[in-house]
Subunit: 199 residues, 2 copies
Amino acid sequence: MPTTEESDERPAPRRMRADAQRNQEKLLAAAAEVFASAGVDAPIRQIAAKAGMGVGTIYRHFPTRSDLVVAVFHHQIEECAQAGPRLLADADSPFAALHRWVDLFVDLLVTKHGLAQALQSDSSRFAPLHAYFLDRLLPVATQLLDAAAGADEIRSGTHPYELLRGIGNLCIGHDDDPRYAPRRLITLLLQGLRRPGPT
Amino acid sequence: MPTTEESDERPAPRRMRADAQRNQEKLLAAAAEVFASAGVDAPIRQIAAKAGMGVGTIYRHFPTRSDLVVAVFHHQIEECAQAGPRLLADADSPFAALHRWVDLFVDLLVTKHGLAQALQSDSSRFAPLHAYFLDRLLPVATQLLDAAAGADEIRSGTHPYELLRGIGNLCIGHDDDPRYAPRRLITLLLQGLRRPGPT
DNA sequence: CGACAACCGGAACAGTGCTCCATTTACTTT
DNA sequence: AAAGTAAATGGAGCACTGTTCCGGTTGTCG
């Protein structure tokens, strides 16, 4: 057993060939750049050109476009997920934590152009992206919502999935229309979540 | 001056040729059918096949896909627009009228498959549809919102355009996910609009 | 060093949207 | 009624997609 390797788990019998590794990194960098400038629907050929490789190579590494998107945004999604519990511990109230986390979530969708759009976009493409998003973020949203409901700050019975998806939807189109500021509506939505005064 | 003609205004020097008229009607019927079954992004060729004509004819009548969509949904959009003032006159309160009208609006988006998606979908395509929608529906929304604000039922300062667009966004993807029911969120949003208790 | 498997690139195929123009067809004029 | 004219047609053609496939190349290991 060679000792020069990192301690990463390695399920495959053989590690990736060095050139393949390099190419994958180049590809991810190029894809991130193209996604940012031309959206997640940018032509594969354009990404291939920017990365200096053929389209076959891209399909070899990432069979579906969704896989590529997941790989590119993996880091940011992870950060957002991990911020949830931290906010819950630090904020003044569960609702405040929820509000801040939603802000972070919106940041994620708004900063990375086209991510919001990709998250629904016909729903059949991008299925793996959808799945990963949910797998990672739904538990966090559930935890925050439960905490706020437990503290009696919001009405109970809100579906975390629905909220996440709704917020995602509201973020669509924020950058091709200055009149549309999703955050205002999202604040409104969170207000609507608050338990109405004791009656 | 011939007297056998209807009294329609006729800005063009010549009225449409009879065969063209017939074709346009066949086309609209076929398009409505295809849109309903395959969404507004259905291939033009498919619509042409169903209507029994070449794609050239379609492009002649409706230069952009958006024009075709507008023509197909013209009637329903008009109905929704006209319902606004009526509801305002009939309902118990302006807010109730607003709520009902929003329900109608959601019906429009949810019943006609893909309409909601078309309304944002990259925003560059479908620009005429967008424009027509706004031209017709924005005044209605403004009127309802103003009335509710005037009655002190909701906070003032809400942007009608933003609300319309937000609701439209929330309606996306309702039919490919049973877990997602836009109406619940929209009700929440309207709740958030209500003026908080006097403070 | 050689052999072999992993890897690469892009040619090729199958759908798209949209344009263009030779041909057909309805309306008008004589 | 017949001929002339302009509107209308429809599909071939072009440009651009996503995706597959395989001959040639290049790391890696014995």
